[in-house]
Amino acid sequence: MPLYFIDTDDDVLTVYDDQGQDLPGPKVARDMAHLVLPDMARQKLPDSDRRTFKASVRDESGTVLYVATLTLVGEWKVEPPAS
């Protein structure tokens, strides 16, 4: 099975996948990229009102095949409370 690498970024830490995953094809790699996003969000939130979580799929030649982005946008509808 081909090896795919899934790099991730949560605006604070960029992690370059040094292991890779043996996966049957790019669609499964895409699914893996989707699945890591809620794991990353769960670990980081709550935090600020803006955060972008990103997971991208790279093949063995280094070509980026797919990028998934999960964006948090929070907005106060009243005067923000003093911290």
């Binding site: 830490l13 992690v15 040094d18 997971a55």
Partner: protein, 223 residues
């Protein structure tokens, strides 16, 4: 007698099941070397590892009482086990109260560990959950002389660790790099090294009380 029981070891090779779900084994297995795990496979192929078994742990003590296995026990990494006939366990528990008590204690500790894993999975962030598992394994392996003061053999894969923590393998890789970047751990060549044990314990709020490593002070030592 216990020494005799432990003399007949057998090697379980990597990726071999020790017992499968639904089986009715005639022997109870005791891990002597390496790692085994309790796991369940779902119909969609997903797997959850519910326990890591280290030397001295019984794989399936309850099978002496219960009818069949409700989960599987395997080793993705190879281990050495000893088989103890169900009849021997029954004899030990009936005729040797101290051993019966020790087996009961082992079962209660397994339950305590399972409770802590449930807390970890439900309430701790993945980085703390992973750190907590590493602290637990260090303490458990030290108890049986299989770890030095800050490191132990850890032959499992990142994918196994993902199925243990209930997160994706990609996230496991991410969390490992986070812990490494904070100078908490190094996992290299199948050996996990904790760079500062007290700092890692503080990081994940580790309290080993659930492992019940100390006996009740007031007693029952006469048994």
């Amino acid at each position: 007698m216990l020494h005799d029981l432990c003399g007949r070891t057998h090697q379980v090779s990597a990726n071999e099941d020790i017992i499968g779900e639904g089986e009715r084994p005639e022997n109870v297995h005791l891990v002597m070397e390496g790692f085994a795990c309790r796991y369940k496979l779902l119909s969609d192929g997903k797997r959850q590892i519910m326990a890591l078994l280290v030397p001295g742990d019984f794989c399936d003590l309850h099978i002496a009482i219960l009818g069949e296995m409700d989960h599987s026990i395997g080793t993705g990494w190879g281990c050495t086990c000893v088989k103890i006939p169900r009849a021997t366990i029954n004899d030990l528990t009936t005729n040797h109260p101290r051993i019966a008590r020790a087996l009961w204690w082992a079962t209660l500790t397994d339950e305590g560990t399972l409770r802590e894993w449930l807390v970890n999975m439900g309430q701790r962030r993945a980085d703390k959950q992973m750190a907590h598992l590493f602290c637990e394994l260090l303490v458990r392996l030290q108890t049986v002389g299989c770890a030095d003061e800050d490191s132990f053999e850890f032959p499992i894969s990142q994918s196994d660790l993902a199925d243990t923590l209930g997160v994706t393998p990609v996230h496991v890789n991410r969390v490992l790099q986070e812990l490494r970047a904070q100078n908490l751990i190094v996992w290299r060549s199948k050996r996990l090294q904790i760079l500062n044990v007290e700092r890692l314990k503080a990081f994940c709020d580790f309290n080993p009380n659930y492992l019940h490593l100390t006996r009740r002070a007031n007693g029952d030592s006469s048994e």
